[in-house]
Structure formats: structure tokens, C-alpha cells
Assembly symmetry: C2
Homo-oligomer: 452 residues x 2
């Protein structure tokens, strides 16, 4: 409570870290479509999934159990930073002069700097338990890679990360962090996979994308029996692991006697949106007047501009085919600073709830997003990741709507990670050098734009 008698922060004691993950699937109007094995055109087999993923992950991917117990060593590791606080953005409310309350779930206290560690710890734990020696993964901006690097270190497991080549060279801080945690980091495209070599043969300056990095990671897994793929977003099990966020949030909101009118999260694939909002989906299906909103970058907005259809999850089509919103697996997003949101599709469960009318979406240009981020930093001190700032942008716009309508709404956004390793982008914004990428500027083959 602050000097005005306003409750502005809700902390939970450590014994209220959730003991179970919540699986939204049994509560949805229908199940997601099955993954497709691209070599047969048929639904994937359990064998296919278990060659690619850790067995426990393959099982969690299709389980219809509503609750999955969190293994004790994972819950123990969650104590490094969980429960995370729910904080009221009182200064932002005053600045906007809105009757709405703006709250944020502050996931940036994680040692790796974002919510990503919730799933990373779970995946590393199961991989170790099953006797695998190494996980292989892809990373864009590096939030996922650094979370998994720490998780693998804590669980005593090797890790190989394919990092988008442009980020590998231009944003080395995340790479240094992964290496400090003990991971091996390679740029994608790399010369260490067939797919990478092919790409480089066609274009020695290929900057890489999330989709090329996934393809290379999959190739590495298939060529080494001791390795399994670890997925940083997208998969059902990954989103489920993040539901500790939404479960804590429910308890925190109950403590202050508020129900949310708006739940807002940025979406690249949907890991933070899923973890944050899925525990509220049943309330919405039962009639709660609740808007769940995905905030996307204008430059790469499958939920806003994409189609719901079968597509590849990766650039090469080596992984499964999935039904979800997509801009096309060969779409190369332009080089915006929210690197974590540069993916052509979104998680099947996020696509499904959008398709079912449970999820709304909005897209913003990066100048607007950085303006919101900068305002927030000046008022609250915390510097948001460019990804998370999309949610702040949306929260501000809704709060301003509430000002016009006089509505005392409860707006909650997920502050998914900090932007301390994205200060280069803030420097460009401060210097007036940031430009918006217009939709007309790019096409599915806009590789050239990546080098702007």
C-alpha cells in the first residue's frame, strides 16, 4: 500500500508457487488439429514425436489431463524467483488520467530476465531424468536461449543453441550470457548442418530467421541419438508450463478483490500469452466479460493479418505441419527490434483460441511501441523488453479508451521480460533513428530488407 492508501503491489509467499501446471485443452470448445508428419501427410506417430522431443514433452503435448503435477525439483528451482509480484502502474494511471486500474505481472525478476525460464527448467529436468545428454534449440533475440542455458546448467545437461545469425553478430550480449551459463551457441544459418550449408551456398549473407534456426536444430537432433529438441514457445507443453503465471495472477487478483476486464500479452508464438491467460479462458467461456488481447508487431502479425491453415512450423518443413494462424513458413519478417516476435506463425493453441473467438489481436508499429516503453521506463523505472512493450502499448490505448468512456476497468498486462540487453534499440529510438516498417515494404521473399 502506498501513501495514498492505494494497494500497489501484491506479493505471494513462496509456498504459494503453484504445484500443478494447467492444461487448457480439455476446457476448449474443441481440440487442436493433430500435427502432420510432412513425409507421409498423416498425423504424427508417438514414435515420431519421441524421436524429436523428450518423452515427457511428447506425452504432455497431447495429454487431456487438466492438471499436471510440477516435479518437486522444478518447483524448487522456481523458488529462485517465483512467485512474481503483481504491480499496479499507479504512475502510468496518473499520467494517462484514466479511471482504469493498470496492473502488470512482473516476470522480469527471473535470473534469465524473462518468463521463459518457467518452461526451460521443466524441459531440462525431464531431459536429464530420461538420460539424454544434450538439448538442442533455436533462439531469436536470445531470451529463450539464455533461459534454457541456465536451466541446463542447473540440471547438469549440455545445450546447443542455434541463434539467428543477425542477432549472433549484432547483439552479442545474449550470446555471452548463454556462454557464461555454459551453452554452445552457433549462428544460423551455420556451416554445421546440411540445411545451413545450403542456405549459405545460395546466400553467404543470409541473416537467418527463427524458422531456419529450428530447421538446423531438428537436423542436429536427428543426427545424434543422445539429443532432443527443446521448444521455446509454440508447443502445447511449453505454454502449459507458463501457466504458473496466470495461476499466480488469479490468486493475486482475488486478494485485492478484482476480476480482470482486459488481459494483454505480446505474442511472437504465444508462450507468455498462453501462460498468462489460459487459466482465465474457462471464466470467459462461462460468461465472464473479459477481453484477452494479443499485441503483435505490425511487421509480423499472424493473428492480425495471417490465415488459419495447415503450414510448416519451420522453414525447411522438417518439423511437423500444424494448423494455426500463419503468414507462411517462407515469410521472412523485416528486422524489427522485438526480435522475439519475428516468427511467421503462432502456437497452435493460441491460433485455436483466436479461431474460436476467445482471443482478440492488435498490431503496432515499432515507433509506437518504443514510445510506450520509454514512457513506462520514465514513470516506473523498469525498462521493458521491446517484446513486452507491445503489451504496454495496448494497455495504454485501452486505458485511454476508458478515460473517454469513464470506465473503471481492470487492465492487466504481462511484463514478460526486461529490455536491458535491448538498449541498442532504445539508443536508436532516443536518437530518432528508429523507423517503422510498413506492411507494403516487405514480402514473403523480403530477405533483402533484413539487412536494412
Amino acid at each position: 500500500m502506498n501513501k495514498l492508501g492505494v494497494i500497489d503491489r501484491v506479493d505471494l509467499p513462496v509456498d504459494r508457487i503453484p504445484t500443478r501446471w494447467y492444461n487448457v485443452m480439455p476446457d476448449l470448445p474443441r481440440l487442436p488439429e493433430k500435427y502432420i508428419d510432412n513425409s507421409t501427410g498423416q498425423p504424427v506417430t508417438q514414435e515420431y514425436m519421441e524421436r524429436l522431443l523428450v518423452k515427457a514433452m511428447a506425452a504432455q503435448e497431447s495429454t487431456l489431463e487438466r492438471w499436471v503435477t510440477i516435479p518437486e525439483p522444478v518447483r524448487e528451482a522456481y523458488k529462485l524467483w517465483r512467485p512474481t509480484p503483481l504491480i499496479r502502474a499507479v504512475a502510468l494511471e496518473r499520467e494517462l488520467d484514466t479511471p482504469a486500474q493498470i496492473w502488470f505481472k512482473y516476470e522480469a525478476t527471473s535470473p534469465s530476465g524473462s518468463h521463459k525460464l518457467n518452461s526451460a527448467l521443466a524441459q531440462a529436468y525431464y531431459a536429464k531424468r530420461e538420460g539424454h545428454t544434450r538439448l538442442v534449440t533455436d533462439t531469436g533475440a536470445g531470451q529463450w536461449g539464455s533461459a534454457l542455458a541456465l536451466a541446463c546448467r542447473l540440471m547438469d545437461l549440455d545445450l546447443l543453441v542455434f541463434m539467428i545469425r543477425a542477432s549472433f553478430h549484432q547483439k552479442p550480449y545474449r550470446r555471452y550470457l548463454m556462454e557464461t551459463y555454459g551453452a554452445e551457441v552457433r549462428p544460423s544459418p551455420s556451416t554445421t548442418t546440411e540445411f545451413g550449408r545450403d542456405l549459405l551456398a545460395n546466400d553467404p549473407d543470409h541473416p537467418g530467421t527463427e524458422a531456419t534456426a529450428v530447421s538446423e536444430a531438428i537436423e542436429c537432433v536427428y543426427s545424434d541419438e543422445g539429443s532432443r529438441l527443446s521448444v521455446g514457445a509454440f508447443s502445447n507443453h511449453n505454454l502449459m508450463h507458463h501457466t504458473v503465471i496466470g495461476q499466480e495472477l488469479k490468486e493475486q487478483l482475488a486478494e485485492i478483490g478484482r476480476t480482470p476486464d482486459y488481459l494483454i500479452a505480446s505474442v511472437g508464438c504465444g508462450s507468455n500469452l498462453g501462460g498468462f491467460s489460459f487459466p482465465f479462458v474457462e471464466d470467459k467461456l462461462n460468461g465472464a466479460d473479459l477481453t484477452i488481447l494479443a499485441a503483435e508487431p505490425e511487421a509480423c502479425a499472424p493473428l492480425t493479418y495471417g490465415e488459419y491453415r495447415l503450414d510448416f512450423a519451420d522453414a525447411a518443413g522438417r518439423g511437423p505441419g500444424v494448423h494455426t494462424y500463419t503468414l507462411g513458413h517462407d515469410f521472412v519478417p523485416p528486422p524489427i527490434h522485438a526480435g522475439g516476435l519475428r516468427y511467421h506463425g503462432c502456437a497452435p493453441l493460441v491460433g485455436l483460441i483466436r479461431h474460436e473467438g476467445i482471443l482478440d489481436a492488435v498490431a503496432y508499429g515499432q515507433t509506437d511501441v518504443f514510445k510506450a516503453a520509454s514512457t513506462f521506463a520514465k514513470l516506473h523505472g523498469y525498462l521493458p523488453a521491446p517484446e513486452s512493450a507491445h503489451a504496454i502499448r495496448a494497455a495504454i490505448d485501452i486505458a485511454l479508451d476508458c478515460k473517454r468512456t469513464g470506465r473503471d476497468a481492470t487492465i492487466v498486462f504481462n511484463y514478460s521480460g526486461h529490455g536491458l540487453l535491448d538498449l541498442e534499440a532504445y539508443g536508436r529510438y532516443n536518437a530518432g533513428l528508429l523507423r517503422d516498417v510498413e506492411r507494403e515494404d516487405f514480402s514473403a521473399a523480403s530477405l533483402a530488407a533484413m539487412r536494412v
Copy 2:
């Protein structure tokens, strides 16, 4: 409490943020020597102090009140991140196989990333209350500059920061952070002061030092009636503001029924050591078996290798003369990565407790320090600032001593800030490129070494 039934974290509720700062001066065996006005050779006058500093700061500098009430708006702002947790480094204890307990006070949760915000908020508050329009300050690595930039934004005040030129160009992230908070940042030496122009005339590539930056800040203050100097360490009032750290720590240790055997902090000037340890000085003077230990960089270690004598606080001798441990005001430290520890002297109160035998000191080469930092990051996830890592190095060495002697000591170090903006240095360490600077390598005139 963790799965082994070990209490591994002590959090205090927000209403236990201290209400007063603790002033150690009345409890010391003798008072520090008076500051000297270098133009007269006589002790400084109150007028001299009030032209340089905000009045309240000038008053706090020499007050003999044991307790100073924290103004409500400052305590309110402390709620952004205080109380900070006390965390037990259980994994580090296991790794070292030591019977000692290792705890750390985790100050890195501050929005600006270090303990520095404790004093920054106080100084910005008083400056605003007295009607000043601008604060002027110096910063080395940028921890202080970014804390004061945020504090000035929150208190609605302008800020001019002189940042060591080498850091300004080579480590722009902290600069971008200060600019995001709204501060004006200039490299030191700059062309905007007479002193800066003189330095650049002699050496256009002068890399700057803390001492040159202070001299330029003082010149700016003297040339603008609305401006006052804000001091990021060194001064008695600054150290006093940080005693919220040690006061909280005392309560946290009392909760778990431990008394500290070792209190360890890194020292550049001494702001984090002072704030962390001063509330325990009286216990030590009353007979407690307590070691207070300053961890310095071998390359710049006034408490280990310096003399206790009268010297200038800044390079040009425009500020006051002070009695403390010093390597000489014209000493140019070599370019180690713990930029915040590159200062020729230390705070007069820290020098005094060293001189009185209350404080011990130890110095480490940077390779040893980064090895400790890297070990800690792998075990606990948190990436320490290179400055704070000096304290970790010392804690590890003492814990290993305890292993040899079988002593169940309580070791507490201050984790003063995070190292996320120092990842360049970690990258160099990981790549084996970091080298130790031997004492023989540098001299008082080792400007050339700065460019290594």
C-alpha cells in the same frame, strides 16, 4: 525454505523499509578530519559547501545526529524495490563443500540495477525541494549515472552527467539507459568545460577518469546558479543513505537467528560497503567477533596499497581536500572491467574505519574476480556486476578457509548490482581474452595503459 528444510531466503514486508538513515559518525572512536578548501588551505566553510551541494546534503555531511528521518516521498519511492531479499547461496556452499553459511543481500532488484538508487532518490528529492533546477554529476561505469537519471525523472528535475569518455564510447548501453530516463550525458573530458578543453588540448584521445569527470561537474556547478553537484559515493551523506541496506540486513539476520562473522563488500569509493556495514560497526566496537572486509581490484586498491593522508577528491583539485586512503589524485587506474572501482581514493569514512582498524581489506586481480562471478552465475543464475564480483571472490575464499578449519561461520556479502550491462567483459573472459593488470604494469602516469 527449500526442499532440504533449509531457509534460503528472507524477505521483509514493505512496512519494514527503514524509516531512518543511520549516521555512523557519532559512534566512531573519532570524527573524520574536516574537508579542506584548497584555495585557502583552511577547513571549508558552510557557504563553500552550500554553493557546491544541495543544502540538506551539506548539512547531512557533518551532522552528528545518529538517526536522520527519511522523508516520506523518498521512502515511498524505495517501495519500488525495497526491502531487498537476503538470499542464501546454498548451491555455492555445496559446490565449495564448506560448513560455512554464505548469504547475500541482493540489491540488484533496483530498477536501475544497483544499490545506487538509495542515495540518488534522496539527493534528487532534496534538490527539488530546495528549488534547484538541475543536478550535475559524474559517472564511471554508469551505475550511479543511471540511478540518478531515474531519480531525477521521478522527482522531476534536470540532470547533466559527465561520463568517463572511454565508457561513453565503448559501453553505450548505460548511456542509452540514462538518456531513456531523460538525462543529458556528456563524455569527460568534454569540450564544454575549461578543464575538459585543457585536457583534450594536451591529449585529444584522453580517455577520462572518475576524477576528471568530477572536476568538470564541479566547474559546471560553479558556472550555473541553479545547479548543484550530486555525489555518487564518497560523501558522508551518500554512505548514510545506503544504510537502509545494513539496517534491513540486521533485521533479516535476526529473523533467522544468525549473527554475521564476515561482512564483505566491494569498494570503489565505499558507498555499498558503508551502507551495508556501518549499522554493524557499533557491534564490532562493543566486542562482536566480526570481520568487515573491503574487496578491491588489485589494479586500483587504495585501502590495500594506498596511504592515509590529505589529498584532492578530484583530478583538478577544484573540490575539497580530504583525509583518506589514496593512491594520489593524479593516479590513472588501468582499464579493468570493474569500471566503478577505478577511483584513486575512498570515502573519508571508509578510510577512517580502515585507519582505526575496524575495516580489513583484500585485493584481487580481475581474472580471479571473473572466475568467481562466472561460478556464481552458473550456480545461481544471477549475473553479478564485475564490481560486486569482488565481494563474491572474497566470500568464496573465506568459505574455503572455513572448510579447512571446519568453521560454521556466517558469511554475508553485498550483491550490489547486476552485470547485465557488463556482458562485453564476460564475453572477453569466456573467450580467454581477459588479462590481469600487474601492479608493475602501471604508474601514476599510466595514461597510455588506458588504451590497452
